[in-house]
Symmetry: C3
Subunit: 418 residues, 3 copies
């Protein structure tokens, strides 16, 4: 019997680790997506930002974030990366067996799963501020977001704080992760301003196409795959019939919502623009994924498809109006995909989950958005005062790659300065 | 004891989900492979095709395909994506425990695994018709293939139909998936015709090189990795010693066949053309993978390597003769890789599996090929009559990206129209 | 009870297979990393090298390598790929149940896991000799390294040989895999010489930038992900509380060391060169991964981060001095990343693992380095005498792609000969 308990513990731990590795893989997805959607002259810098922010997120979350977010978890001792007995102690087995099923997986596997989530939130920011932000200002913000801003609101929901107590429902983070990242990105874009030449004084809007769409497509497909870990792992348990069925349903619904979002955005773009706009298809799939993230467990696969379809239908006008009407310059559409559609996902929860209410969802949205947006705004303004946030006009014209990284991403293919 | 049964159910479900995620990842493999093997001016469109067909396949298979293929499975209620009790019901645990081991994994995990297979079959088509087909004609065909044509022949073999009853042997789909895709592709290419300038009136054949071989190589490596899920998951069970050993052997044989196919094609290309043709090496690896898919369980690793080697030796002349002799314009060699080598894989089954016969294999090949080819031909001709299948000559010259998608895949790197 | 033993066997086997698939995926990582760091005109050849060496490694290791390295394992019969009863026999279940827990996973899953390690070692070589080595000379060396040189030293440590007996500690192969590859690469570079134009007669050093940094970044991220399998699978067991905790710790430490290495190298490059050099950040992450590979189990996550930081701080000057001072032309920095940092990783083991000693570590380093370097040197010199190792000057100028592969990697983007 004890062997069965141990085996069950091992399976749930392995499930966490596999899902965590898939979420870590999403870092590659964001990196490729964003690198494909910027111009060649700004590619090396956005690559540097993405790999750098992932590393920073891991370190900050180990040092302070995890303990801020999960103060009751006896995994980390004293905010310094010293993991306690449950992770590796001599009597770990005895403790697990004595816990009566409460300790059913390795705390370290949970830390691994959580840490890759933090990086996801921060990845959303990098796309929105692309092509004109100072690299080290960006990294400074990453330190604060991943160490403090994200963990605080994460605690309110997943750490057992007041949002959880009031019935706010967010299965895998349409709000805690995606809208959080979008709110921080919006604050950054407002402080930073649009790229040079993006909006003319006569009100004209210039489209600035991405330089490498196969990379962007690869990034979307990586994110789609990684999302099976993101949502699938958020069930937090696999080891009995009910939980295994739940995880399987989450996988299916995640897949269906992405499919629905992609098809809907592609058809809408075809009808609206007359062309099958690939970038809209990519954003449609991501919108479907963001939309289902708040509740992938209670919808039927058909309902999940519809939730994704609405996400795909929302993201196309969101990107268009954000750009043309509000003149918010978000090169990859991150604020629309993760923010606007993240809100849709949260509001859709009560449609299939009878335990959720619109009131609690709206309260959660307002709380998370307000907290992240205003703290981020303060931090961005502070960084602006201390070290500046924007590269020089000349550097922006030449490309941030040369100015910030001292090298070019495609030295043989593209000329700088175009 | 009940806990052990539940744990076993959870492990088999997880095994299905992990393998399914790997097969979904093959969508990225086909996308990158095909994007790397076409010209820059047709890249955005083939990206759109690949992500679009994956989404369509998921939706159509949920709506009708799965129930057509597995009519006896109580997973989907009434063809509309309403998954039934086994997936999520309140008494699922009791049903599993009462089933005496018959219900040993989540039906939804099986649906997830199956749905990614459908997309694989359709992915094969997109490469063969690249660079000149209308996007929406392609998507229309995708609806029919994934909703009807594929599931029908899938039912005949894997759903318990007459091909299964007569002893046709196809472990993971050299026929049901790969040759099926190739037959549909062949019908499409015949209706569509060759690319402009491909074959001169004087009988000359122009080589049209792919624009991005690192992408194509990445695609092949993604497919190699995903194939561990494709073949490994097709054992359908993992949770005891015999099954675990079987799955391990399938992984090893899949890997060895790909290695054999790659080396064989590379050596043959070196001997025949005087050069180590990378595209032949990539197709050789894929040929090895297709060849072993019909039976990865009964060969020894050495025999699997030999089956892959024969696949690699077949694919090189198949591509050359298809192009030069038969003037069938298949830009990525999909018909040779998945069709010709798929047939080899099916014929190789009796060499190591004593339960298979050449007669049944030939009957299965003829049935699947005949069904898929002729129904596809009718559908392609119908689409041609209704909406046309081919872009205008001018559009083809300029590249289908601008005409169909309204954007360029590499706006800074390559000029259109070359 | 027997069912529990079988289930445990299945879980451990699945864990091996999943980790093995992740390590196989590292082949794609090396391929993309190296393809991104060479010039466009040499890209197709390095792609061919990487996919070819992986296939050769699998075949040679099956034919002779595995049995050389693990002579006591009853997996392979007689060096010819005929796997024995434990893999697939009729009484496999009875043997497992009778073994009292000793046979706790499929021998074939171990073979699969091991075979992808061999390829990793060989992948290290291809980057260092890039842009000027004859393709078939490289493949000839790959046959010898993967069939003989690697398995011999692998036996000394992991097969139960004298290095293991004397207390040399190398958890997942900082020495057996990474330093081994670096030593073979160093011997190759010394025999081969530098690229034309790299070092001027006046002592000047020309920087030759890589042509596709998004690919190189993708490669690094693939390697990061694959390393969870590389280190995580090297615990060799998962199925009880203690082992599951150990695997989780290995995942966490692997992730933290990479993060530490990346940040450290980026900061050092910023301080030293004044720019956030992306290629140094990539090499820093890989250095962190190589450094933790020798012992990812005994450090706390904080200590793992520090071990990675030191790796990142070492790799930047190692690359600079190797290039400027020693004029060893290693286009991708492989010798520094895998050799210099591999040694650091081995020397760091006694800092956290009380069972390891500096004496044994130094003896192991000297033994492995000496064995691999000198046997490789002899083989390289033999290949040089028999078939030459270096392409002609004209071929090098035009790019090895045309000469060796007869095609270009980016025919529409880049001109040859620059």
């Amino acid at each position: 019997m004890e062997q069965v308990t141990e085996l069950s513990y091992a399976l749930d731990t392995f499930y966490f680790l596999v899902c965590g590795a898939l979420v870590m893989w999403m870092a590659a997805g964001f990196t490729m997506l964003e690198a494909g959607l910027v111009r060649a002259k700004n590619t090396a810098e956005i690559l540097t930002k993405n790999v750098g922010l992932y590393a920073i997120a891991c370190i900050m979350y180990m040092l302070v974030g995890y303990n801020l977010m999960y103060p009751g978890e006896p995994i980390l001792d004293g905010f310094l990366g010293q993991f306690s007995v449950l992770g590796r102690g001599d009597n770990a087995t005895a403790e697990v067996l004595a816990s009566g099923g409460e300790t059913y997986y390795s705390g370290l596997s949970d830390f691994f799963f959580q840490v890759v989530f933090v990086a996801t939130a921060m990845s959303i920011v990098s796309g929105a501020v692309a092509e004109r932000m100072k690299l080290w200002s960006f990294f400074s913000f990453a330190v604060v977001l991943t160490g403090f801003i994200y963990p605080m609101q994460g605690y309110w929901k997943w750490g057992g704080g007041f949002l959880d107590a009031m019935g706010f429902s967010d299965f895998a983070g349409s709000g805690v992760v995606h809208m959080c990242g979008a709110a921080a990105a919006l604050a950054g874009v407002l402080v930073l301003g649009a790229r040079k030449g993006k909006y003319g004084k006569d009100g004209s809007v210039k489209a600035i196409p991405g330089c490498n769409l196969p990379l962007a497509t690869l990034g979307m497909l990586i994110l789609w795959m990684g999302w099976f870990g993101f949502n699938g792992g958020s069930e937090l348990k696999l080891s009995n019939v009910e939980e295994a069925n739940a995880v399987a349903l989450v996988f299916v619904n995640t897949n269906m919502a992405a499919a629905g979002g992609l098809v809907a955005a592609l058809l809408l773009a075809r009808a609206w623009f007359g062309k099958a706009d690939l970038t809209m298809a990519l954003n449609g799939a991501l919108a479907g994924l963001v939309a289902i993230t708040a509740e992938p467990l209670t919808p039927s696969p058909m309902a999940a498809t519809l939730i994704g379809i609405v996400g795909g239908l929302l993201v196309v006008p969101a990107i268009v109006f954000m750009d043309r009407t509000f003149k918010i310059d978000d090169p990859v559409g991150a604020i629309s995909v993760h923010g606007v559609v993240g809100i849709w996902g949260l509001l859709a929860v009560p449609l299939t989950n009878t335990e959720a209410t619109f009131g609690a969802q709206i309260a959660g949205i307002a709380t998370i958005f307000g907290w992240v947006f205003f703290t981020s705004l303060i931090v961005w303004l502070g960084i602006k005062a201390l070290m500046g946030v924007r590269v020089s006009e000349e550097e922006e014209y030449e490309g941030v790659d040369l100015g910030e990284c001292g090298l070019e991403a495609y030295p043989e293919f593209a000329k700088t300065g175009d």
